[in-house]
Symmetry: D2
Subunit: 339 residues, 4 copies
């Protein structure tokens, strides 16, 4: 049975995602509350903690993890800080929800895998929230049912209305296409074995420093071929679509449209402005599921292995993108813990 | 077998519809040519005839019908002139395609029915072109198949981007809703027994003299209930939709959309500008079918009875509209010829 | 600022809706917990309470309301029991979320209005959950913006895959169409002044005792005309659609479709099976908003007046349905508290 | 002005396409009639000619072209017979509508280009009928308008319900993907410079001898990147879709859907069964436009150069497919006549 007390969560990192998770845990999900916030900026940590009853600010993640009212950790700090926090939490046997990426590269991700493997049981869930999206789950259920036969292709579109000023081509792979990497692995239950990146002429509308659009192709160990249009178009809106091409038919998600307006010779509606609106319920469900599982003493959701595999595919993707060629993915053997 | 020679057609009336039919017969459909055009304005008749090789202008319909190169008649003159032309054609045993309305009122329409009945065989096809629209035909085929069970309701929307300056509320019934009357009778194979008209507040955007939108309700002798939104909204575009509610499900047409554009935070496309664009292929098919049937010596398509029944329902509709109440439709007995 | 403690809620009634709300409050929404459940069946109350930590079973609503750990009441008992529970809660100054209907008839609903009016501030929120549906809220926002001009018509479809065995024609009005009554009043900000019910032939597929489909028409004091197809078709699925026809265009909701599957010569997808799936997030949002408002010391959401007006329109609707005619709605003067 | 007499057409080849064109010219389009049919099988030629008034059967194309009642030639014989018939028609200065392919390979196609170039004016139109499809024309108009900026990507799906028994992987390129080659060149106004073919695991549902699905990628001299899913799935239906990704947005065609049926828990409709149904109007329009232009003494539509370029891209495509790699396209210099 579920533990009586609300789960006390330490949120590490108080940027956009971290702050949003603080709000989510306190105001949206059931059974948890934020008892600690951590930021290297002490003023920032205090500011956020002051807005939450019963919440203590910290600058050191390990100090927060040692607090008696902390039963689990949500990591939303910048990627380079993840490894240390993850290893500390694993060391203390604390359940973790870690925003993607697990860590910034495959080598460090593998170290986290090894640490968890050594611990002997899963503690870490990685924040690939598309797995909690209703439509993607429908698609997964259909593919798993086998009703359409084997999936052979997966067409994806990933379109953004903008990108942060620091965004580079490598960020397109590591921050954006990484979602399609995880979706591919999860939907198909297959590992990605090679990545190819092709680029058309650069859009005159592209933000500085970004060569968009690009076409990213994955091959999998199950023989599937996956294409991803990754795009950033100022003012466009946010569109994420996937269509699986199977032996007996196809199934697509991401075309759901809300209110239809007919006026002035046009039919149509609004494209969602961003990933927050598109995946808000997925984020809520992700955190609620994590809280529920944690209170039951379980770990479900995407694993460290999923985080590691994504990192390895990202590395291949960045190489493929830089050289505009096909790069094979090298993965360690999959530990028993993740089978 | 089909007669070798192209069918020589006399087109009576050279307004918008007449001129368009001249073009259609000469440039679009196969197996016919316009050999005569008739207009009470001799200059206008000559002008149109001059543009067509082998075409003679007339001011008198009966003179045109007497010409040796005229084998069939297409009536596109104003409604009040239809009866005389129809009776003359029936008298000469000439096949006729008569633009709607058959005649402007039920009494005159019934006289045409009687004349054709006396002739003993069908000669006249009435221009209810929706029966030739691909989607409406799909819907008809589905209803006829019985796969959804009996149709119980029919929801219709009939939206226009504008109306001619002379348009009155009565025109809404006689020129616009008359299409839904025919669609109802044809799709369901039932006669309309009562009409009710209800009006919300008048749109501040309504053209002068029109109280739009209005809701028109039909009851049928088969127990079906039909609602029609009739509307005129400047700048809106042209939308015609129908949804049949049957015992086991529903089926709708008119929502087909063409090119989908995603840009500037909106998805959508263009609403067709008018009935010409929406029903262009239906007009082409209607005339081609009429030409083909005529060359085979047959008469198919909507009959004088259909024209008469529409006129009778229109009369009830105008009364219902004026009094905002329910008015029953009175029909003569259906002659054997139309069963 | 929000009170620190979770809101203790007494849930009255442990049928389908009551049990679902117990689950929702405990497992889904934030900031509340079920501290009391009430059922006249003591065994049933104990059974439900045993599944919830810190929850006490009661057979008497007033006893539960007197408990120190109860700060608010959720009424999900059968409609005839509502009035007594509502008056008791108002007497104790306890905030209430009352599942629809407020009470089974207009006279009793008006007594609740008077009691709350006497109390001098709002305590009661009525469970019209469509107001919390994302798409209906989008439509409301668009109408309120005035961008499409005044709403003149509202077309509604309300289709169900089944009905409980006890369902009668009156239930169609009181349990089903009541949602469109509230939607009409809320979306348009207008009161319903008359109801007309029309019926086509009865579906051979209709459940025993139900004459479906029916067409229900509302007129409003703002001059809008509203039509509702209410239908029950075994095996059909659940569809709720609304389209507002405004001066400059139309806007529709309820056509959102999820995964699109192409296979075996067909494109398409699944119709949701029932109202739980269609409005699950609306229910969650409704209860979360109620908990949040209550903890802030506020009452938002549909009021007792909304519940009373719906009851008055229902009474007119049932009369109209029985007589197949137009019946005017009589409302008391709207108290200052609800303006 | 258009010539008075109907255009006399010799149809060469009386297979599926040839017979369908005989029907089209006689029964559908205006201003032309079939005066000669040619088939190496004399019995077959006679059989078809017997069904058409005033039509003479031939076994020798040049004999038919020499007949006084033949004013134009429609070539619908197997591809290997095209070159000889084309050169004969060009020699006689006869206008030609040649079903795709122009000829089976680039070298022979270039010979036809040279012959026409020598003649000094265009005589030949190649049967790329998608250019006459309403939706593709809308897309072309939008791209030409520049409203969405430059096109950077073009996503295509080309799905078939079956293939003839003799179909090989090379046919997928030469008979199916050749349409996307022409669409790419026409929509973008760019030449294809390289082709890559990638294959996922073969569908267990694939017809014998076909490795489907495949992903074909084009690069263009304007910097666009084009992907084509080519697929054959027994029982699937026929789907052809294209989405242009431009600097300011995207535009897609081929998703138009007809009648929507809601029943038994499913919404949806029928996928068209084949290319005839999907492109019937495009075929009609293609032939009507050719007849009209020919009667005006003009040649419009896809040129010999378009036929040659498609052949050259096909050759690269087949090589790319066989080797699963990228192959560059080599084109002759474009003659002045086709600029």
């Amino acid at each position: 049975m579920i533990q009586r007390e609300a789960l006390g969560v330490a949120v590490i990192g108080t940027g956009r995602m971290g702050t949003d998770h603080v709000r989510r845990i306190n105001d949206v999900v059931s059974g948890a509350r934020v008892t600690a916030v951590v930021d290297i900026d002490a003023g920032r940590a205090k500011e956020v903690a002051d807005g939450v009853s019963g919440c203590t600010p910290y600058t050191d993640p390990t100090a927060a993890m040692a607090a008696s009212d902390v039963g689990a950790v949500l990591i939303a700090s910048p990627g380079p800080a993840h490894e240390e926090a993850l290893l500390a939490a694993i060391d203390r046997n604390l359940p973790v929800l870690c925003e993607k990426p697990l860590t910034p590269d495959a080598a460090s991700a593998l170290r986290v895998v090894r640490a968890e493997e050594k611990r002997g049981h899963r503690l870490v869930q990685v924040g690939f929230m598309r797995r909690y999206d209703t439509e993607y789950r429908e698609l997964k259920a259909l593919l798993d049912s086998g009703r359409l036969g084997r999936p052979l292709m997966l067409h994806n579109r990933h379109r953004n209305p903008g990108a942060p000023p620091y965004f580079t081509n490598a960020h397109l792979i590591n921050d954006s296409v990484v979602h399609e990497m995880d979706v591919t692995r999860w939907l198909l239950g297959q590992e990605i074995t090679a990545v190819t990146v092709m680029r058309p002429a650069r859009s005159g509308n592209a933000p500085d420093g970004l060569d968009v659009p690009q076409l990213v192709l994955f091959e999998t160990d199950g023989g599937a071929l996956v294409d991803v249009e990754i795009n950033v178009t100022p003012g466009f809106g946010y569109q994420v679509q996937a269509e699986a091409v199977c032996e007996h038919g196809t199934a697509g998600v991401g075309d759901a449209r809300g209110m239809l307006v007919n006026t002035a010779g046009r039919w149509g509606g609004a494209i969602l402005p961003g990933f927050v609106e598109r995946f808000e319920e997925a984020f809520d469900r992700e955190v609620q599921d994590w809280v529920d599982a944690t209170r039951r003493g379980e770990v479900t959701g995407p694993s460290c292995w999923d985080g590691y595999a994504a990192a390895a595919v990202c590395e291949a993707g960045v190489l493929a993108q830089a050289g505009e060629r096909r790069v094979e993915v090298e993965l360690a053997d999959r530990p028993e813990l993740y089978r």
